[in-house]
């Protein structure tokens, strides 16, 4: 893990992979990262909502980020993880292909995205960051999830 020293503006992100893209989400919103869980399907929900799981006595809704981004579904493997996000009384599990590491980024490492296309997925993007020579798309997980609630 590359540490950027004592920079007041430094934020930590959990870096994970969906498809061939790497994404990051604010670590403060991450509650726990689980391996695969038994999911109970919930009827009449959008296809990216996989269902609900029992997380130590709590019923948590789980969604597939792959499907939300319009990618085809793939088989689960050893790398697949469910990131449980928790903020403001909202809990949601997000299934990703793999979770890599935690990166610490400064404001200066993050470039904001200008609207290149009308692709809806760009609404949730905080910016693009460079770390270790890789490009990480930083997601505004709060916006993504809150928008789900409004449906």
């Amino acid at each position: 893990m590359e540490k950027k020293l004592l920079d007041k503006e430094a934020k930590q992100f959990v870096a994970f992979r969906v498809g061939d893209q790497e994404y990051g989400a604010d670590i403060h919103k991450v509650s726990i990262i689980e391996k695969t869980l038994n999911i109970a399907r919930v009827p009449t929900t959008p296809n990216y909502i996989k269902g609900v799981v029992n997380l130590r006595g709590e019923i948590v809704t789980v969604m597939s980020l792959r499907l939300k981004f319009g990618l085809p579904e793939i088989e689960e493997d050893d790398e697949t993880r469910t990131i449980i996000f928790r903020f403001n009384d909202v809990v949601l599990g997000v299934i990703v292909d793999s979770v890599d590491e935690v990166v610490t980024l400064r404001e200066s490492d993050i470039e904001s995205v200008t609207q290149i296309t009308n692709d809806r997925s760009l609404d949730y993007i905080l910016g693009i960051a460079k770390a270790d020579g890789r490009l990480i798309t930083l997601l505004n997980i709060e916006k993504l999830i809150t928008e789900l609630l409004e449906k």
């Binding site: 038994n38 109970a40 919930v42 009827p43 929900t45 269902g51 019923i59 909202v90 809990v91 789900l148």
Partner: protein, 688 residues
């Protein structure tokens, strides 16, 4: 100064007091001479004044202070409460409620000063009992004047005592106490008059009971007096003690203590009055003996809170509830794992089951609240509505002590308000119409609550004009919801169901209250969200009855576990009438709807596998017999087709969480003994 920790207590207690005030004012309206009620109202206003003063809410304090003036005058018979005065008092109540609500949301009392209400209170004081008031003023001021011109040696004029004071004093004398009138004069050069007076009052209160003060205590606290004041006290102590103690306070010019002797002649007349007035409750001045006529004491009890109670944070109750739920889940798991092993201690497990069930019941009881808390604002509401609509309506309530779970209580208020408003607005006819129909001129609305099996039933019945079914039929056609032929074939009951559809209203005018057509469908949704149902019955010309049925226990229920495809679902047992096994060829079709014949009844089929899009449902051909769970929704039955039955189980209802809260057909989820999740079906939305 950190007032925040007291803010919660303040808000809660204020709300309680305001509720009391509401009830009392309604009583007062019915009987405007009721001394107990007047005293109670005064006491509440006084308490609220003190509370708001302590918290620094000056506007509230001012308002309650003015209320106190009026109320004090009322309870001392300086004038009688007429309907205008009661109206003003109600406005005060509304203003106070606004203050408390603002405080609850913002922590401050807000900017509203309710000038008009305060003016109204002032007007009352000015217009009424002006002679008596002037008298008091005159006597009050003349006494000290006498003091100033004549040195302490001369006897001061006795302070004007009203009937109430005389009664109190009489009782004290009968109890062998001393009654003194003490006149205190401060030094002319005294700067902190209020402070000195305060010290004097401290002495007085330590050694006696102060029953009257001229000027009033509040005015003295606010320094609204010249340089002297007079008090009447009841004490066991001697004159000398007071003279000595008060004189020892700095800047006191003179103290005069005079025993009060009552005129014998007035006694006999007073006796009758006094017997009526004794037994009035905690006023700060009562030193009267406890003996009071039975009826007064009983009335008094109604106003007091009965029994010892503890205020518990709702969150803590929820935590307790959760723990009990977890206990039941683990007990189920224990049961499952033990039935398979040999030599298991079945007795212990059965005992465990009994204990957890009892524990669950006990915790559920803790969360139960009498519907009274919701019902008690309705009399006021109906009173206001009947005025607004110019109709005479009386509300009769019964079964207020029926209990409902706390979460239900919070949700049931709005639907009931809507239904009551409906009855008042659309149901009850105007005065003239009622007389023409040979009905009593006063319309009646009956609000009843009672337990029926595992449900609580709340009925709202009115003796108004009933639902005009023909009008509804026309409206259905007019709105294009159904064709004329279909509308013809509908029964009256089916037609009335349309009232619950969104945006449906047959009201010709939109009044403030209803007619916008938004209400009844929201009522239905809210009640169904609580797991309940709402039904209507109406007879044209006679009246209408709305019946709401809500299940008692919410969190832990008995359910039937079923398998559909490879998925498990739970169906609440309370919604199941029976299980039927039918042969595939016994399924008929009526007007394109699959049905089965159940003891001469035609029951429509609901293929759960299809509705829930279960991926691997077993097709009928593969089954020798089809398992149908016959579910009931109110009076109607539906046959749910499942693949197999797993068994009956006590399950804990867990919410689906914020993300999925509005999902169709699913009432919640439960965690099975094996740790997997099974969804609980919402029968009401699945049944036809």
């Amino acid at each position: 100064m950190d007032m925040n920790q007291y803010l919660d207590i303040f808000i809660e207690e204020s709300r309680e007091h305001l509720q009391q005030l509401n009830t009392s004012l309604l009583e007062l309206e019915k009987d405007n001479k009721n001394k107990e009620v007047l005293n109670e109202v005064f006491r509440v206003a006084h308490t609220l004044k003190g509370m708001s003063g302590t918290m620094g809410f000056t506007k509230m304090q001012t308002l309650t202070h003015r209320m106190e003036d009026v109320l004090d005058a009322l309870r001392n018979d300086r004038f009688i409460a007429d309907s205008n005065m009661v109206d003003v008092l109600f406005r005060c109540l509304d203003a106070l409620e606004t203050y408390v609500n603002t405080i609850a949301t913002t922590g401050q009392e807000g900017d509203e000063a309710f000038e008009d209400v305060i003016d109204a209170l002032h007007k009352i004081m000015e217009n009424n009992g002006s002679e008596k008031k002037a008298e008091d003023k005159a006597s009050g001021s003349s006494a000290p004047k006498a003091q100033n011109t004549e040195p302490a040696a001369a006897k001061s004029k006795i302070v004007e005592l009203n009937q109430y004071d005389i009664n109190v004093i009489k009782k004290a004398i009968e109890a062998n106490k001393n009654v003194f009138q003490i006149h205190v004069v401060l030094d002319k050069g005294c700067l902190l008059k209020a402070a000195r007076a305060f010290i004097v009052f401290q002495i007085l209160e330590k050694n006696s009971e102060v029953i009257k003060s001229i000027p009033k205590v509040e005015d003295i606290e606010d320094e609204r007096f010249d340089f002297d004041f007079t008090v009447v006290i009841i004490t066991d102590n001697t004159e000398e003690l007071f003279i000595k103690e008060i004189n020892s306070v700095a800047e006191i010019s003179s103290v005069e203590v005079t025993p009060i002797v009552l005129d014998e002649a007035s006694d006999k007349e007073d006796k009758k009055e006094s017997n009526k007035n004794t037994g009035s409750q905690k006023t700060e001045t009562t030193a009267a003996a406890a003996a009071s006529p039975q009826s007064n004491a009983e009335q008094h009890k109604k106003f007091q809170k009965t029994g010892k109670t503890v205020r518990v944070d709702i969150d803590r109750l929820d935590i307790l509830m959760n723990l009990v739920s977890e206990l039941i889940i683990i007990k189920t798991r224990l049961e499952e794992s033990s039935t398979s092993k040999a030599g298991t201690d079945i007795e212990s497990i059965e005992y465990l089951e009994r204990i957890t069930t009892s524990l669950h019941d006990a915790v559920m009881k803790v969360r139960m609240v009498p519907v009274e808390t919701v019902f008690n604002r309705f009399p006021r509401m109906i009173r206001d509505i009947s005025r607004e609509l110019n109709k005479e309506i009386e509300l009769h309530m019964s079964g207020e002590d029926t209990e409902l779970d706390r979460t239900v209580i919070d949700e049931i208020g709005d639907p009931l308000i809507h239904i009551l408003r409906n009855s008042a607005d659309h149901g009850i006819e105007t005065h003239e119409e009622r007389l023409k129909a040979n009905k009593p001129s006063v319309g009646n609305i009956y609000l009843r609550a009672f337990q029926d099996g595992n449900n609580v039933v709340i009925e709202v019945e009115d003796d108004g004009q009933g639902i005009d079914v023909e009008k509804v039929r026309k409206k259905i056609i007019q709105k294009g919801l159904e064709s004329a032929e279909i509308v013809e074939s509908l029964t009256d009951k089916e037609v009335i169901e349309y009232l619950f559809k969104p945006n449906f209203s047959t009201a010709d005018k939109v009044t403030d209250l209803s007619g916008r057509g938004v209400g009844l469908d929201v009522v239905k949704t809210k009640i169904e969200a609580l797991g309940g149902i709402v039904e209507v019955e109406s007879v044209r010309g006679k009246g209408t009855t709305f019946t709401i049925r809500i299940p008692l226990t919410l969190a832990i229920i008995q359910a039937l576990l079923v398998r559909i495809g490879s998925e498990k679902y739970a169906i609440p047992l309370g919604s199941i009438q029976e299980i039927e096994n039918v042969k595939p060829n016994e399924i008929r079709k009526v007007r394109n709807q699959e049905v089965i014949l159940l003891r001469n009844m035609v029951v429509p089929i609901v293929r759960l596998g299809d509705i829930l899009s279960v991926p691997d449902v077993e097709p009928d051909e593969n089954k020798k017999s089809i398992t149908c769970v016959i579910a009931k929704k109110g009076e109607k039955l539906s046959a749910f087709i499942v693949d197999s039955l797993i068994g009956q189980q006590e399950i804990v209802i867990k919410s689906l969480g914020t993300v999925l809260s509005g999902v169709k057909y699913i009432a919640g989820a439960t965690i099975l003994g094996d740790g997997n999740v099974a969804l609980i079906l919402d029968v009401n939305s699945l049944a036809l």
